[in-house]
């Protein structure tokens, strides 16, 4: 039963107040993109056992989507941040690096 802090309203929201939305920082491929790119965008999800960036919506709260960095093997949360960004913020990357030295980084 996760708790994630909503970066908009500061509530330490519990899982039942949130709805999960899958992998974060997906790049949308629309008309004109290659079959492979479109397939990757739609289906080939990162599914790491370890650090993962994902989308959550504070559905029963402020209704906003935010992003979280979380370890899928321990459920440790490294941080949350607003959805309006295409890359994880530097301080979250640094936090992860400190806690998971073997982590290969966000790519």
């Amino acid at each position: 039963m996760l708790i994630l802090e909503c970066p908009y309203c500061g509530v330490k929201a519990e899982e039942t107040e949130l709805s999960p939305g899958g992998e974060a920082h997906l790049k949308r491929f629309g008309p004109g993109s290659s079959d492979a790119d479109f397939e990757a965008y739609m289906f080939a999800r990162k599914n790491p056992k370890g650090v993962h960036f994902e989308r959550w919506r504070h559905a029963y709260g402020c209704g906003k989507w935010f992003l979280a960095a979380r370890c899928t093997a321990t459920l440790e949360v490294f941080g949350t941040y607003p959805a309006q960004t295409s890359e994880p913020p530097a301080e979250i990357i640094a936090n992860i690096m400190a806690k998971r030295p073997a982590w290969k980084g966000f790519k």
Binding site: P31, D35, F38, V77, Q84
Partner: protein
């Protein structure tokens, strides 16, 4: 014979005597008794039958670890099977019956299994009943099933209620023994918000029973003082009868509070499930004594030594007149001493160790108790109760050296810390050789959301059997520190305990017992798993502890192996010639002890089982006999049957009346989403397959939405309200989903676009006034011009009708002249009533969703969920006209370009008319010639909507057919469930008013 002692009993109130029944027999107990104590006080030694062999079973333990004493508690709507007698408080009128026997507890035919036990070793069924094939289902399985199971299956609806509540704390202390109390004191004094919970009705745990002295006072006095202090602090919550059931991730803990188990029917909730969210958990759940494995250790009268002590001290019940104590440690002597001091006979303490020279053995000897060291029990004599034991050399093979008559055996095989809560979220254990137990490994705790330790074990649960208070103090301090609080000055009270010399692990008694004896040594009493079974599993290659568990069912009974697991592991390790820590434990899973399912579901039953969404007109529908259907959480009238009408007849009447007069539909559930902003038009052009940005103000346009894969996901009419505002109608089921979908794109993809949305679905009640006389009804209501000119087809206008502020949309889902009228929901019921009244003279009748479906099918309109199923694209439905060819992009466009979606061979929408006029069956497929590679009949299409059209007086249908539209006039065959087929002609899907004249008048 087990009896109530004349005096003593710290937990019972002799002035409050209670009556209860066991198997119909009326028995007496005292307030404060557990059912087990009261049964023993009445010499009810035999309490049940084991699972597999139906062996006689007596009470072994005094708490949650009890494997045997399970009863059917109560009856009828209050029947509770498998209720543990050791944790059930006796109340006046309690009814209990024993389980798993026929015809009676004393005489059970199932005991035949016992005589055949040799033929029923672990896993026997995997090896048998293989032939003949049909016999398994028809003969063997029914027999196995019939003899399986324990308690009676309840039949009635539960008479009790349950509830849940949320709790929050910095620190939750699970376990109200001295360790838990001390930890709570340390934390509470430091100002932390503390919860402490105890599963039993009393604080203090073992210490008051064992005569510990704390700070110079009897433990019970210290406990009282601690509880008084805690209760006085505003930052502390204390709860008894509250079990910490499970620890889940991120500090989520379930507590099961037994509010009214002991006062059934008093109107309070039976249980309350607390859902705690806490910073840290102190696992102060104590330790559980282990049985010893000797032949006949399951005969009623063989009990845990600590339990015997509990019964004497707490409830003044002596399980036997002559009790032999058998032990591998000093603690067991406490029982001998307690019994002796209570005036009972202890013929002998049998100590497996070669030497017993600690303080406790000395005291026992001083009381004149005979102590035999280096000895063990070869076997227990007796059937339904103990008659005596045969003592032998522990180091030998069990050649009996002497017989000792007794009626009870108290066994102590050492202790196992209760590490469940530590382990639920992955806390690791370490093997402690000195005490021969697993204890929490503080270096590998379960972690919480920020990666820090979530659980701290304290006291006996942490393996600190002798320095529980010091350990608890220490653990509480570091737990507080990790929360950023401090309790540096806290010190542990002085805790005086007699010195104890080391225990010696004894896993089998005697050490060299031959197989015949091992086959009588029980590990898991309830599931009938014996030492020989574990050894068999090992021999057959089920070497992993998890395999052994599953092959033998060791530890899978209702006690989850609280007594048996460690002994089983040790036996397995022995069989594999390896070390216990290398064998490891099985996984600890919630709940700690079983939790009533009703409590887990909480208050959600009956009326509030789920939210039921109601439109403002819901009550009117109910009063007017609506037959409802669920649409999401909404309930919508399916039809309004009149007396004597079937649902089908009602639907037909409603359709005909709407087509010839006027019908009223409650359309309030339709989703309504306002989209506004400078970029709103551009946004809607991305969302819909068509173009919405060009929609003129005052007009409506039908639109389709696809998901990114290209599949059709929702449809509805969009109205342009003003320069930068649109109102999007969605399907009833789609409102929240589509609103979420819009926000998703706005927040996560196009966050620089200036668009705001608002879901105003519930702001408006919406009434569809439909049929050739619809305009007359509105004119009757009066207040605005509803002429063709003022409100043309696919237009909308604001105004008033009958004095209500309304917005009127000229849209039609039936093909008739139709107005959908939105009014503020607070006026919805009144407006509906006004429509009904105004419509009366024009023959207005309400119609339901089924009539709506029939009419739209007559018109060939698609319905999301009927024509679509998540695999259908708009092009399949001939809706190409609603897809913009010009737009560079919209959600779903790229997906639709994929080869399978763009294929020319897709099934496409057409209409069907059976040659015989009958209605094609719901779900029917259109067969094709031949079979496929998997020998399945080939198909070329299927029906999507099929109805009897009351308007046309025949069956009509829509469906998908390969290359459909170019096959007009062809005859195809639809399946029927009786195996035959029905022929139908491919026709245009619009069956009624093909030119759309009626709606546009």
């Amino acid at each position: 014979m087990s009896t109530r002692l004349k005096s003593g009993g710290r937990l019972i109130d002799r002035s409050a005597s209670l009556e209860f029944t066991f198997n119909g027999k009326r028995l007496k107990g005292y307030a404060g008794d557990t059912l087990a104590a009261a049964l023993l006080a009445n010499d009810q030694m035999l309490v049940g039958r084991s699972f597999k062999y139906h062996r006689p079973r007596g009470i072994v333990a005094s708490g949650a670890e009890e494997p045997n004493a399970l009863v059917n508690l109560g009856s009828g709507a209050r029947l509770e099977p498998n209720q543990r007698a050791t944790t059930t408080e006796v109340f006046d009128g309690l009814q209990a019956t024993s389980q798993n026997h026929w015809p009676s507890l004393e005489h059970d035919v199932g005991v035949l299994n016992n005589y055949a036990a040799r033929f029923l070793p672990a896993g026997f069924y995997y090896k048998t009943f293989i032939h003949p094939r049909a016999a398994w289902k028809h003969v063997f399985e029914p027999i196995i099933r019939q003899s399986a199971g324990l308690g009676r299956a309840p039949k009635d609806r539960d008479a009790d209620r349950y509830e849940q509540a949320y709790g929050f704390a910095d620190l939750l202390v699970a376990g109200g023994g001295i360790a838990g109390l001390q930890a709570a004191l340390v934390a509470a004094r430091a100002g932390a918000r503390v919860w402490i919970v105890e599963q039993t009705a009393v604080w203090g745990g073992r210490a008051p029973v064992d005569g510990d002295v704390i700070d110079g006072m009897p433990a019970a006095t210290w406990v009282d003082a601690a509880v008084t202090e805690l209760a006085s602090l505003p930052n502390v919550t204390l709860r008894v009868r509250t079990m910490a059931a499970g620890v889940y991730d991120h500090g989520y803990v379930l507590l099961d509070e037994k509010v009214a188990d002991h006062t059934p029917g008093d109107g309070r909730p039976k249980h309350r499930l607390w859902r705690m969210r806490v910073g840290r958990i102190i696992n102060a759940t104590g330790a559980i004594e282990r049985p010893l494995s000797f032949a006949g250790n399951d005969i009623p009268g063989v009990m845990l030594a600590s339990a015997v002590r509990d019964y004497v001290v707490n409830w003044a019940v002596s399980p036997g007149d002559r009790t032999v104590v058998v032990t591998n440690n000093d603690d067991g002597y406490r029982t001998a001493i307690t019994l002796k001091e209570a005036g009972m006979d202890v013929p002998c303490v049998i100590d497996a160790r070669v030497r017993a020279d600690g303080a406790l053995p000395a005291r026992a000897r001083g009381l004149g108790i005979r102590v035999e060291t280096g000895r063990g029990i070869a076997k227990v004599k007796g059937g339904k109760r103990v008659e005596g034991i045969e003592m032998c050399l522990q180091a030998g093979e069990g050649a009996a050296s002497s017989f000792i008559a007794c009626d009870a055996v108290a066994m102590s095989g050492g202790w196992s810390p209760v590490v469940h809560l530590w382990s639920h979220c992955g806390g690791k254990l370490t093997w402690d050789d000195a005490h021969a137990f697993f204890r929490p490994d503080a270096t590998r705790p379960p972690i919480t959301h920020d990666g820090s330790a979530m659980v701290y074990a304290a006291g006996a649960a942490n393996g600190a059997l002798h320095e529980a208070l010091a350990d608890a103090t220490h653990r509480a301090k570091i737990a507080l520190q990790s929360l950023g609080m401090t309790a540096e000055t806290a010190t542990a009270p002085a805790h005086d305990l007699p010195e104890e010399s080391p225990m010696e692990a004894v896993w089998i008694m005697p050490q060299g017992a031959p197989i015949a004896l091992k086959a009588k040594m029980w590990l898991d009493y309830q599931n009938d798993v014996k030492v020989s079974d574990v050894q068999l599993a090992a021999r057959e290659g089920y070497e992993s502890v998890e395999h052994t568990k599953r092959y033998t069912t060791l530890g899978m009974a209702t006690d989850q192996g609280k007594l048996s697991n460690i002994n089983g592991l040790a036996v397995l390790a022995g069989s594999l010639n390896t070390e216990i820590p290398l064998v490891g434990t099985t996984t600890f899973r919630p709940p700690y002890t079983p939790v009533t399912l009703g409590a887990l579901a909480g208050e959600a039953r009956g009326e509030i089982f789920q939210p039921l969404r109601k439109t403002p007109m819901h009550d009117w529908h109910e009063k007017n006999g609506a037959y409802f259907e669920p649409v999401g959480y909404w309930r919508r009238p399916y039809c309004f049957p009149r007396a004597g009408e079937t649902h089908e007849q009602a639907v037909h009447r409603e359709v005909l009346n709407t087509r010839s007069n006027v019908g009223l539909l409650d359309a309030s559930t339709l989703g309504k989403i306002i989209v506004k902003g400078p970029d709103a038009g551009r946004f809607l052009d991305m969302l819909y397959t068509g173009v919405m940005s060009t929609l003129p103000i005052g007009k409506c346009r039908y639109g389709l939405m696809c998901n990114e894969q290209g599949f059709l996901s929702d449809d509805g009419v969009v109205a342009r309200i003003d320069e930068d505002t649109w109102l999007c109608h969605t399907t009833s089921g789609g409102a929240d989903r589509i609103h979420g979908w819009m926000e998703d794109w706005l927040q996560c993809e196009w966050w620089d676009w200036q668009v705001f949305t608002a879901n105003v679905t519930e702001q408006y009640a919406q009434v569809a006034v439909v049929g050739p006389k619809a305009r007359k009804v509105l004119e009757k209501l009066g207040g605005m011009d509803v002429s063709k000119e003022a409100v043309p087809f696919m237009g909308w206008a604001d105004g008033t009708l009958g004095g209500f502020p309304v917005r009127v949309y000229r849209i039609s889902f039936s093909g008739e002249l139709s107005y959908e009228i939105a009014v503020p929901a607070s006026h919805g019921a009144a407006f509906w009533a006004a429509c009904v009244a105004a419509g009366a003279e024009f023959g207005a009748m309400p119609y339901g969703t089924e009539g709506l479906h029939v009419m739209r099918a007559e018109k060939g309109f698609i319905m999301i969920g009927d024509e679509t199923d998540g695999t259908v694209i708009p092009q399949d439905l001939g809706l190409d006209w609603a897809i913009s060819k010009k737009k560079a992009d919209f959600l779903g466009k790229r997906g639709q370009e994929r080869s399978f979606l763009a294929s020319a061979d897709r099934w496409k929408l057409v209409g069907f008319e059976t040659l015989d006029g009958s209605v094609i069956a719901d779900g029917a497929y259109i067969i094709d010639a031949g079979v496929n590679a998997n020998n399945q009949r080939k198909v070329q299409g299927r029906v999507t909507s099929t109805y009897h059209s009351p308007t046309l007086g025949r069956g009509i249908a829509m469906g998908l057919l390969r290359h459909g539209p170019v096959r007009m006039g062809e005859v195809v065959e639809f399946t029927k469930l009786d195996g035959s087929t029905v022929k139908a002609k491919v026709v245009n899907a619009v069956f009624y008013d093909k030119d759309g004249e009626k709606q546009n008048v």
